[in-house]
């Protein structure tokens, strides 16, 4: 196996986690609609972490694949193949351990990382190997474009915050319950920022390759956006904990920093016309279409995030499904769309054709966008209803209020089902492509490469 295939290995594993995550998500959603569904076999307390961890693993493994895929193009043969494969094996061990942990009810970790903490060791080791391979490949490479900075930032900060995520094992942190919760949500904010750095870096990398000028990744604007993103990664987490009885300055900093997101939003609106022109120009180029979809979802979710970061509005949405809508909108609408773009551009193999006339891909793309919008709106509606209940007189109890949300959960479940099918379609097409390329030998690849219909028309 050549070093060049390491990105593919990680991407296939990431796609498998995506499929498992979506299936677990649908079954978890069933528990909202049908109480006690599968309760005697596997409860909500196990299904929810299965869903969340699988989706997190999809993003983390996909991000790893993007770094390897980019390095393969920028610095061919410079990464260590054995280190990358050892990293992959460590991920497999961690995944097996995490699922064993959940299925047998061996919890112990924090929310989103609920598995027995012992399985965090292979994850940390795998990430150290990624960082080693990253700096190994870039030895002697000067004047980094912005996407290299973003990959480096994402890789290093993920490791830092992942370790920070386990400070609770020390009584010094754990015994101060409010400080412990503050650190937990500081970590969650920075972890999301870390993988976003890798994924947005990948967008810059892809755009650089698509426009063929190489200017996108070296512009002053790109670096300004990078540093603003880094600033947010470091300090934009206070909005999670406005209601915690913490020190006021944490809330003030959180509020002020989150308002810098207006700059991103204004920039998106400012560039809208240009984006639309490019969209028409590149519509038939499949990876670009996913990036464009991610742009729309960034706009929607960033607008929502800014509103939710205003404490006076946060008090309405906090502790409701509006926050779930935001999490789903970002992980599916932004992260998954970017990873799909990377999948078709960087890892799709060279043995299969994804031409513009591929009806199944077209249908699945538009079904995923429409069903995600319905999914997102139903969560927001359920969340607002709960938010109004929280601030009202609460004449009805919690159970009755939740029961009144059932119609919205049914909409959520149905749209989630269509979302699963429509995202699984390109995922399965990509996996199939990898398998075909593995079966066919390199000489076949070379011949078919010329027939690729990945044309940038």
């Amino acid at each position: 196996m050549k070093t060049g295939t390491d990105g593919n290995l990680f991407f296939v594993l990431a796609l498998v986690m995506l499929l498992i995550g979506m299936l677990a998500g649908i079954i978890t959603g069933m528990e909202y609609v049908i109480p006690a569904f599968l309760k005697n076999y596997i409860g909500f307390e196990a299904l929810r972490p299965m869903h969340v961890s699988s989706v997190l693993l999809w993003i983390l493994l996909g991000a790893t694949a993007c770094i390897y895929g980019g390095l393969k193009i920028l610095r061919p043969g410079k990464t260590s193949g054995p280190a990358a494969r050892l990293q992959w094996v460590l991920w497999i061990i961690a995944i097996a351990g995490i699922f064993y942990s959940y299925y047998n009810g061996h919890f112990g970790g924090r929310e989103y990382w609920e598995f027995n903490p012992v399985w965090s060791f292979p994850i940390a080791l795998a990430w150290i190997l990624l960082i080693y391979n990253f700096f190994r490949a870039l030895r002697g490479y000067r004047n980094w474009p912005v996407y290299i900075w973003m990959w480096m930032t994402g890789a290093v900060f993920f490791l830092f915050t992942f370790i920070e995520n386990y400070l609770w094992v020390f009584p010094f942190f754990r015994d101060r319950v409010i400080t412990d919760m503050t650190i937990q949500w500081k970590v969650n904010g920075s972890l999301v920022g870390s993988w976003n750095q890798i994924l947005y870096g990948t967008v810059f990398f892809l755009m650089d390759r698509m426009d063929k000028t190489g200017k996108t990744g070296r512009s002053k604007m790109a670096f300004t956006m990078y540093f603003l993103g880094l600033f947010n990664l470091m300090f934009n987490w206070g909005h999670h904990i406005y209601t915690l009885p913490g020190i006021d300055y944490v809330r003030y900093i959180g509020y002020l920093v989150s308002m810098t997101e207006w700059i991103f939003l204004v920039r998106i609106i400012y560039q809208w016309k240009q984006s639309m022109t490019q969209a028409r120009q590149h519509y038939h180029y499949f990876p670009y279409r996913f990036i464009l979809a991610a742009d729309w979802w960034i706009f929607l979710n960033m607008g929502q995030a800014i509103l939710m970061s205003i404490p006076a509005l946060n008090i309405i949405t906090h502790g409701t499904h509006v926050t779930v809508a935001h999490a789903m909108g970002t992980t599916i609408g932004i992260n998954t769309m970017i990873l799909m773009a990377a999948g078709f551009e960087m890892f799709s193999g060279t043995c299969t054709r994804f031409d513009k006339g591929n009806r199944m891909l077209n249908i699945s793309f538009w079904t995923s966008q429409v069903s995600l919008l319905v999914f997102w709106l139903s969560l927001n509606t359920a969340g607002i209803i709960k938010g109004v209940w929280q601030l009202g007189d609460r004449h009805v109890g919690y159970a009755d209020m939740m029961r009144s949300l059932t119609p919205w959960f049914i909409v959520l479940l149905v749209s989630g089902f269509f979302l699963m099918i429509s995202i699984a379609t390109p995922a399965i097409i990509l996996i199939r492509s990898f398998i075909i390329c593995r079966i066919r030998r390199p000489e076949t690849k070379t011949r078919i490469r010329t027939a690729m219909v990945f044309t940038n028309k």
Binding site: G43, V177, D180, T182, L244, V250, P311
Partner: protein
Amino acid sequence: MNRMPSIVFAILCMAFLIYSGSIYIYGASASEGTEFKAEAGNGKLVWQKYNCQGCHQMYGLGGYLGPDLTNVSSKWQNDTILEAVIRSGNERMPSYHGMDRKNMKALLVFLREMDASGTADPRNFRREMNGMIYRNENRN
């Protein structure tokens, strides 16, 4: 230009480390002081061990299938009732009848400690014109 990203990166990292360090050392809550409550910390471990956070929230943070439990201790005002609910479960919640005494005691101390730390009720905040919120002195 080439050195500029490195310099900005280094400055931001320094600021991040100082901010993080201040939270680790001095804590994030004035009311916590320097008093360490090991029993509450052990209760937090039980909370995580049984993944209560998968369905319930503390200060609105956690899963949304079940209710927020920040102030459940003062709501029930009786640990015996709370223990009975945890042990018996309900239509959606699994029963934890097998939880040993030590774990149950630690969990109840943790819930009392969370309750004493403040209120999670959003009605207990007043909103200001600048968008900020402030906690009312009196708890509902």
